[in-house]
Subunit: 498 residues, 2 copies
Amino acid sequence: MLSQRLRYAALQDRVVTAEEAASWIEDGMTLGMSGFTAAGDVKVIPLALVERAKKLGKPFKVNVYTGASINSKIDGVLAESGIVNIRLPYQSEKRMRAALNNGDVCYIDQHLSHTAELLRSGAIPPVDVALIEAIAITEEGYIVPTTSVGNSHIFVAQAKEVIIELNMAQPLALEGLHDVYDPGHQGHRQPIPLTEAGQRVGTTAIAVDPAKIRGIVITNQPDVSSAIVPPDEETEQMAQHLLNFLKDEVAAGRLGPNLAPLQSGVGSVANAVFHGFLNSEFRDLEVYSEVLQDSVFQLLDAGKIKMASGCSFTLSPKTNEFVMENLDKYRDKLVLRPQEISNNPGLIRRLGLIAINTALEVDIYGHVNSTHVMGTQMMNGIGGSGDFARNARLTFFCTKSYAKNGKISSIVPMCSHVDHTEHDVDIIVTEQGLADLRGLSPRERAKRIIDNCSHPSYRPLLQAYYEEAVARGGHTPHIIEKALSFHARYVQTGSMLE
Amino acid sequence: MLSQRLRYAALQDRVVTAEEAASWIEDGMTLGMSGFTAAGDVKVIPLALVERAKKLGKPFKVNVYTGASINSKIDGVLAESGIVNIRLPYQSEKRMRAALNNGDVCYIDQHLSHTAELLRSGAIPPVDVALIEAIAITEEGYIVPTTSVGNSHIFVAQAKEVIIELNMAQPLALEGLHDVYDPGHQGHRQPIPLTEAGQRVGTTAIAVDPAKIRGIVITNQPDVSSAIVPPDEETEQMAQHLLNFLKDEVAAGRLGPNLAPLQSGVGSVANAVFHGFLNSEFRDLEVYSEVLQDSVFQLLDAGKIKMASGCSFTLSPKTNEFVMENLDKYRDKLVLRPQEISNNPGLIRRLGLIAINTALEVDIYGHVNSTHVMGTQMMNGIGGSGDFARNARLTFFCTKSYAKNGKISSIVPMCSHVDHTEHDVDIIVTEQGLADLRGLSPRERAKRIIDNCSHPSYRPLLQAYYEEAVARGGHTPHIIEKALSFHARYVQTGSMLE
């Protein structure tokens, strides 16, 4: 029943087709689109917009801002159509990736907590039109988001016009899970009152002047769930190293039996680690993260996690179906927040998070590359990893010690691109082992990373580099003309091995 | 009169010589010493400790934690004596620099807001003995710091024993300026209530169980002030670029006429910028910074600044003398805080700071090296620059476009060490001009930095590199085997010029 979902009567005559909504979007506009990791993204208007641009048959460009990645179909079609000028703050789609690596799209790879602040301060072009997926419009005309909050609140606040995709396939039972808090302008804001991972500090809908809602498009499509890579032998080894380390920290009295609120990035390693908690002795855990994946729900079901806060659900089709049908069971254990709150540096430090993220490569001194293959080709983006790594109590970066069947070593003399500096990285984990870098000088770190984390086939090369570098001296010894030699060799020969 | 300064009667019989105090310090201990940028540091016990170690005539090592740099004499003598194992979180002394670059001292270069958290979480060896300079011990036995607060509160809280240097040369009129706030343990803390730069949220003394105060050494030595480099033509040009930019931001409505609370690093550029405010139309400015230098007091005198918060005073001898004799004039306009509060990420973002710091080198994509000459030799350390850059509303990095009489270009294809990533850097300033990187993709940034900021003698080399790199492609184009070629050439030939 539409009236259950569209409760502000005056808006009922604004229901339009996707084509009509798209016709309001003009060349040069900036669009703020809901969606975080393919959850809660708008699903039909962007496609209608691409069709409109084709029909127009003249140059047509828009800026596309989102929460994070959106479903592949949309980002892919947008990239192929050539209508995207600026894309921010994150993407993970192969056609969009190709377009930005070609220089066809101006991609701005941002910390996910930054976008809202940059919009408030006028540092990036303002949002003209917000396109927001909703499960309902409340009696006040407010917007109830679906499976993510992301940047939707700031897009709605800043846009001159808001267009809603009211998605009948997203269960109305999601209502009440959201906690929308807008900190206000810098220099004029109060402390965010949150002191516990599961605390509610905001509202369950995005406040908006209903007059700004120009149109409502009715849709009926579930989120396009991402394929979650199951744990393999090596990700399980990494998870085991990490869990053993946490056990040792508890034994040493540096962490309590309930650890500290957990954050984990998206992907197979994070899933393997969370899976590892299932069979661990840890209990009453809390999650304060960005994306809530399948493993969080398994841990909730097993009674291991008592509370989980995030800014989106990214679930496999099977888990998604189960969760959406059983939301009442999870209702008092879940909170969905704007990404500037889930990833807020002040809150991350206040809560003292344990942050677990994935590295693309790590150098022997503990710098981390999360984004650029061989220093040049953008993979996805930094996402929230910097927000968490920089401010967490314990910062882990995980990576297999090698890639491309051993042709690439993930441990290198010097990172070809740095997203996280030595100052922000506590612990490196590979399938080979774990390097606790806390309280170590660079030379001590190098020995530990090479010994504990590098792949045996690259270890002698790394040791030789380090020894030659130490002979030259310096706080962070390097042979500057060979610091990127692993990468140069790969570019030239297709392998980092000599 | 000692009784004015030592008001807790039971402590009066604990007055000892520096030698006796030093005799309590054993091999293997960790010392937490007051001092931030050569302000408020302990001045006699460390020297007595070096003498003690010499007389012992056997291996003797201690870990030395401070707020930031301490006066050169102390760090230099400590380095020469060879008694330092771990040194953190910052130093700026040539003998200490040599020792850590040799690998003789394990230097841990930390964000200055991190040290207290690392101590709380047990990530680094705990402090055994706190050595704290004070102007007074209160009636309750609490410690009133001198010209800096730094990490003293956490050292005192964690140490098993506290030794005070009660410095009669530091004016008692400093009492009341400090605002000591300890946020408590992560996961168990309330929001820090501060919402304005000048707000007081803590206490004017460091609380301590007086039973922990094992000894009090009476001293009478002013701080050893750092030589402040006066503005030269080029730093004045940089200041002008920066001020013009701020004026344009006000004109564009992105900043108000009072700007936003200002932070500036230590050094000649920062001083030149602050000097530039003297003759600007800006008024009612606020400072929320780490170190308050001469220029802050000039601006206070001129009525340009209405409030200044920092964690230390680092003044020239002349300004120091004037300020210390006229503290009442400044009393309601100054606050001195612990460095974890002055540099707190949550507060920096909440207040929306304008952060102005110095770079050693900058690459064409906007990464910044603040610490390592040619990627290997530590200069000083990252200090607070990362705390501010990462969380400020506007992040500037300033550097002359060249160094060593033109043999070094401060703008390079790729930084030889990264302390601040592209994600955190908004604006680059050299004497050549200013590059506003906000909202730009890497390729756009490269063009702007090369065109606006590089020295003309290096511009063609940088342009040629960039063009060759773009021909290879990528989101962040590089010729990986030449990315560090400027540095390699300098190491080989003594100049980055071809």
